[in-house]
Symmetry: C2
Subunit: 312 residues, 2 copies
């Protein structure tokens, strides 16, 4: 965090490594290209629409001065969170003795965090490529995060994601894969660990001759059903048990345990939020899950991405 | 340009006027909402995706300090172009005597101009609203501007726009409105007067029971035809004559004449560019128009916007 020396000899080859990584992971992978276009359409105003690795033509221009400017602004103890997974005063004392010596080097200042305008138009992004061996459809909805959501909404979205699309007992999997047999896979995920609005996504991969349009109709039926009726008592209870258990089991890994606290603290949460999370999940009602589906899974808040095969 | 005094008494009501203008022009008009969503999807990285008037939640936060900061940075003679429509040394002397007194107040510095990454995915934005009385479809392609285009590409795009969709003798109008009778209107426009990449847009308004999908098929046929064969000699000649004549007639208005020079100088052009424009248009070949259609009107570079009626 202090005394870093960066020379062109070090920085230039690293920039080329990043470029090469981008080329192989994004340019070489149509689904990554689609993902970038979906994110850019979903976030009309917010930098979450910019890929974390950066755009190729901008990476190409980065040099030692950019790296040092970033380092000088952000790499300072007052902008860092140290998480030590372990116990006892010993580890705390050792950490304080070691890291406590690092002097404050900068003040990164208040971040300018643009907000998304209220989304009003359903968007669709299609990418056709000869390299596509497995077509798929996904839809991302702009969704409140744990930081921006009001009341128990983010907790309800975590449960909604579990009930609608978490694993082989979820509604989407049962309807599309098991009953209708039109999908090889189907599910959803909720990304609530963002400082600003995150995403709720649903996806499906067709099976046999099924079209992406058929999959979408079936997905929309399941969304409409849970938005109208909410989950039933049994499946809500099972989702709570599974979600809480998964999180508790995950903490058996010291690294995951540390990451949960670090990630919460870095995105506006507190240690109390982490501790209270299981109880808050358990307190979510069926009505709250229904309302989360109704208000968040609104087509106008969404971008649908289609990945299609096209002959060269 | 100098000595501006801004107080809250002046600024606060003006901000409310801007907000009110945005509410009536955008919130009250579904086609404007669609236009904002199309621009935001077209420009994945560039601020041209941000509406000029601004997003409502950001306008709300603007105050006197923001206005003064903008004024202090940009309102300085070294960042201004004075265009006087008239002739004679007298007017130049008067201008120099009057405006020449204004001292340099600031250096706005080099602008950071993000570039768009190469677009790879066709995008579609749908807006359904009970207030839509006239559905329509439009498609915007990311297109080189006079500043970013190479060789005679921007001149070819101006002619392509004229041939494909300029008025009632254009290909789109003849095919969709006259021959197929599926459209009440159809045409296109090219926005080449931007510092960074601009837009080439096609649009159509359905007639009778025609669907937007039918219109798109017919538009795509016309695009495919001109991208394959180019314009024929007669229509290229007529397009050149009309485009040059329109521009010359427009200069009969002193205000338009001044605006042409001001706009060119403000977006990287020169006085020579303005003077040479008619000759450069006349020199464009049929092959150049064909290539402009082939390379610019590629679906992967585009966002299609659909405006649809939906019951409340």
């Amino acid at each position: 965090m202090t005394g870093l020396v960066l020379t062109d000899d070090v920085v230039d080859p690293e920039r080329d490594v990043v470029l090469e990584e981008r080329r192989s992971r994004v340019d070489g992978d149509p689904s990554s290209q689609l993902g970038e276009a979906v994110a850019a359409s979903l976030y009309m105003n917010h930098p979450y629409g910019t890929p974390i690795i950066g755009w190729e033509h901008e990476i190409e221009k980065l040099d030692r001065h950019d790296a040092i400017a970033f380092y000088d602004r952000f790499y300072t103890p007052n902008n860092a969170i140290l998480v030590v997974a372990g116990s006892g005063d010993e580890v705390r004392e050792a950490a304080q003795e070691t890291y406590g010596k690092v002097a404050r080097r900068a003040d990164p200042g208040r971040r300018q965090r643009p907000r998304e305008p209220e989304p009003r138009a359903a968007r669709r992004v299609s990418l056709s490529d000869p390299r596509v061996t497995q077509p798929s459809v996904q839809r991302s909805y702009l969704a409140p995060s744990y930081e921006t959501g009001e009341g128990d909404r983010p907790y309800a979205l975590d449960l909604l994601s579990q009930i609608l699309g978490g694993g082989t007992t979820s509604r989407l999997y049962k309807a599309l894969v098991v009953e209708k047999a039109i999908a090889a896979n189907a599910g959803c995920w909720y990304q609530g660990d963002a400082l600003d609005d995150g995403r709720f996504a649903v996806y499906a991969v067709p099976r046999g001759e099924a079209s992406l349009a058929e999959l979408e109709v079936a997905i929309d039926q399941e969304i409409a059903r849970i938005a109208a009726e909410g989950p039933d008592a049994g499946e809500l209870q099972r989702a709570k048990t599974r979600l809480v258990a998964d999180t508790i089991y995950a903490q058996d890994s010291q690294a995951t345990l540390a990451r949960i606290y670090g990630s919460s603290l870095a995105t506006g949460g507190t240690i109390e939020d982490v501790a209270a999370w299981p109880d808050r999940i358990r307190a979510v009602t069926a009505e709250a899950v229904r309302d989360a589906a109704r208000e968040t899974l609104d087509r106008r808040r969404s971008v649908t991405g289609e990945l299609l095969f096209a002959p060269a």
